[in-house]
């Protein structure tokens, strides 16, 4: 006797309840999934319709008895099918809302068929990484690795933060070389890879990354990788099906923008107040692909766009970028963006602020040496790659704000000036810039409303900013020291008056210095008083990218060594200023590491992972439902959002369309009284090439994703 009578009654009641829900809820599709092996637990059920103004898809996971319930479906005709590890896609069945379905899952006939559904990292981990002993490289006449690649981690950081940050490496469209290239190269896969990396309008950037790897070495290894796959070699590990709370996820998605375009980021609300813009439009950042800023109305299922203007018609356009022929688009230059909108944020009344290009790079005189602008006197700037634009959805008007500093990510501070803090991306500018948006909105004086500061370490340890030596100069006991870095990720702390940033490692920066977390204390006059502390990730790890700060002031980042990491400055024991801190090696005790799931590259330290994550976001207000302060990493290799809950990782793998590849997240509460239904996190397709998807090609739109966690896999 395994169950007491009481338990049996409770179980029966629960079953009746769930059957009742599945059978009668008017906006659901429910049912059970079985295969030749019986009930299938932890597999995905996908419902998709084209009956609405834009394509709409919803995905849930089966419970441990193979049951599913897809909640809150708009009235439409759906195609419904099953996808899962160990399976191949089931035949699609037609269904209406209210249906109760008996879906037949199809067991994969062999390992190869099953592996087609694995996240990209399971394939990417088959890429050979040169051994530690091959570094530093001996150059073109030696091992083909350039001498500036001094350590193995330089290489790994490059294939992640140079390659994987834009492309879903390991996804079908990349692990298989299109016939277009294999034919034109007469079957020479090295040449095929040379040609495919020249395809499209990112050719220049691809060349830059290949140059870092050593073009012959890099192309050879990628060619060997796809050759092995073409010969039938399969991943050496298998992913696990969703477990526990991972089965409570509901993924909803809508098409937006155009198959020729791609998104970098999306925004739904004010990070400081996630009830703002409840049920309102989601906005996107299409980076180099177009000036058309997409929007989605998730209530009416309607996608639209608005054109961002530019200040100067001479602003460079991606349409003019050199490009080789594409296997998908031929000679057509599919991108025509001038505005290069990288990132966006919503303010306290719903205006949307963008890191965007409004003019050519050369700065106006007020930014340069000789200007009387307070910041130019301290750190004159000759170039800016992106500036700021702002769109007010209420008035439908744009503002173009000519900043001297470059922008990359933008986040609001918690101060009364609503200061918009900006990162610069690459380290070259060596400054952190900001816009006093309160002043700007009152005066429209862009010069007086902006400022910037170089990154100065209190190297002499006297607690204040003094004259400094440059980063390349030796220490001077009477001076501070500049670090020639800039922020990539940036986040004003919600608990103290400091700005946290993160500088990229060598694979992205192409500067021979490590990646850092950077704490910037602005002081009363940031241009002249700001001081920074820098912190390297602990020994054996590397490559921070993106960061966020939780409500306790703990900083979260992701590392290209294959980790999620937190840094708690309160744990630091040693001095945090003075000459011993200029390398950022202090306070290893402040770090906590969480290995990203999945395989590691063969021959590489197994404490890390082949997965790479683009960014991390902290759910300060429990908008997802996994708890307050939960960090959520954008796992590009795992094709998932990965949350850290009570020290354990929760993997929210989005299985369709492959590959789920995202670069930012934000969370919104639409209705505080509606339980799980009233809250969600939002993101968008971030790969530059949605057409590489194994689930489509030139018909593959970027998508808006809404992710929710319900109390159980069958909750309605």
């Amino acid at each position: 006797m395994f169950f007491s009578g009481n338990l049996i009654i409770r179980f029966a009641l629960g079953l009746l309840c769930s059957i009742s829900l599945m059978a009668y809820a008017a906006s659901d599709i429910s049912g059970v999934v079985t295969s030749s092996k019986g009930r299938e637990a932890g597999v995905w059920v996908i419902a998709e319709t084209i009956d609405l103004p834009t394509k709409f898809t919803k995905i849930v996971v089966t419970n441990d008895r193979g049951q599913f319930l897809i909640p809150e479906l708009p009235d439409a005709r759906y195609q419904v099918w099953v996808r899962g590890y160990g399976l191949v896609d089931s035949p699609k069945v037609q269904a209406k809302v209210g249906s109760n379905l008996k879906l037949k899952a199809v067991i994969a006939p062999n390992s190869s068929a099953a592996a087609q559904y694995y996240p990209g990292m399971y394939w990417y981990s088959m890429l050979e990484i040169p051994k530690e002993t091959e570094f530093p490289g001996t150059g073109e006449q030696g091992n083909g690795i350039p001498p500036f690649m001094k350590k193995q981690h330089y290489w790994i950081d490059t294939v992640k933060n140079g390659c994987q940050s834009c492309h879903a490496l390991g996804s079908r469209g990349i692990r298989e070389v299109p016939e277009f290239f294999s034919k034109s190269s007469n079957g020479d896969s090295f040449i095929a890879w040379a040609n495919r990396t020249q395809a499209g309008q990112a050719m220049g950037y691809m060349a830059l990354v290949l140059g870092r790897l050593g073009p012959d070495k890099g192309l050879s290894l990628y060619a060997d990788w796809t050759d092995n796959i073409a010969k039938g070699k399969l991943p050496f590990e298998k992913p696990e099906r969703p477990q526990g709370i991972e089965r409570n996820a509901v993924y909803t998605m809508w098409d937006w923008s155009s198959p020729k375009h791609y998104m970098h980021d999306a925004i739904s609300t004010d990070k400081r107040n996630p009830t703002l813009n409840a049920n309102g439009l989601i906005w996107g950042a299409p980076e180099e692909s177009t000036n058309l800023v997409p929007s989605l109305d998730p209530i009416k299922h309607f996608a639209s766009s608005v054109q961002m203007p530019i200040l100067d018609p001479r602003t460079p356009s991606s349409a003019d970028a050199p490009h080789g022929p594409s296997a998908y688009w031929g000679d057509e230059p599919i991108w025509d963006g001038q505005s290069s909108i990288h990132n966006l944020i919503m303010d306290e009344v719903g205006r949307v602020w963008f890191a965007a290009r409004i003019r050519p790079a050369s700065n106006p005189d007020f930014c340069r040496a000789g200007s009387d602008h307070p910041s130019a006197k301290v750190a004159p700037l000759n170039d800016s790659l992106r500036q700021i634009s702002m769109y007010d959805p209420k008035t439908k008007e744009w503002s173009l704000i000519n900043t001297c500093f470059s922008t990359h990510h933008v986040y609001f501070g918690h101060d009364s000036n609503n200061t918009l803090w900006t990162s610069a991306g690459p380290p070259n500018s060596g400054v952190v810039g900001w816009l006093n948006t309160k002043k700007y909105l009152q005066t429209h004086d862009e010069q007086a409303s902006q400022g910037w500061t170089p990154l100065i370490i209190d190297a002499n340890g006297n607690g204040r900013r003094d004259d400094w030596v440059e980063g390349s100069q030796p220490l001077d006991p009477n001076k501070d020291k500049r670090v020639m870095a800039a922020f990539y990720g940036i986040q004003p702390s919600p608990v103290e008056d400091v700005i946290w940033g993160q500088a990229m490692d060598v694979g992205f920066s192409r500067v021979d210095q490590p990646g850092y977390l950077v704490r910037l204390d602005p002081g009363p006059d940031p241009t002249n008083t700001a001081l920074v502390e820098i912190y390297q990730p602990p020994e054996g790890t590397f490559g921070p990218r993106g960061l966020d700060v939780d409500s306790k002031g703990i900083v979260w980042t992701v590392l290209s060594s294959g980790h999620i990491a937190s840094f708690d400055r309160k744990k630091c024991k040693g001095p945090l200023n003075g000459p011993s801190t200029v390398d950022g090696k202090q306070c290893e005790e402040g770090w906590t590491l969480y290995r990203l799931p999945g395989p590691q590259f063969k021959g590489v330290d197994p404490k890390g992972s082949a997965d790479g994550a683009y960014y991390i976001w902290v759910d300060l207000y429990n908008t997802l439902g996994l708890g307050k302060d939960v960090p959520i990493a954008s796992s590009n290799g795992g094709e998932a959002l990965i949350a850290v809950v009570d020290g354990k990782l929760i993997t929210l793998h989005v299985p369709y369309p492959m590959p789920f590849f995202t670069k930012n997240v934000d969370g919104r509460i639409d209705d505080e009284n509606a339980g799980w239904k009233g809250r969600a996190i939002w993101t968008t397709t971030g790969t530059r090439a949605p057409f590489h998807s194994g689930d489509g090609s030139k018909d593959m739109y970027p998508k808006v994703f809404k992710v929710q966690i319900r109390p159980s896999p069958l909750a309605d």
Binding site: E140, A194, P316, A321, P322
Partner: protein, 110 residues
Amino acid sequence: MKKIAFIPLLALLFTVFAASAQSNQDAYALASQSGCLACHKPDQKLIGPSYESVATKYHDQSDAPEYLSNKIKKGGAGVWGRIPMPAHPQLSDESIKTLVAWILRGAPSQ
């Protein structure tokens, strides 16, 4: 008298030098805007050969301008290694002429 003749000569040389520097700067900017510098550097091999080595290889070849113009326009492979250079149909004949002349001068930035 000699001094009087020397001054215009200096002025002429300065004008020629300034024009040449401007021409080099314009060509460098054109190369940069056209994406050439993603694969080539003036003084070191990157994806493709350095411009200095191209200048050295072809400086005595009379048909070099035509040959290199054709390479830029239509692409090519095999002369400097296995990695092919893509075609650049978007570049005008005039731009290609400017670039080739600059490359054969060793691609100076000033």
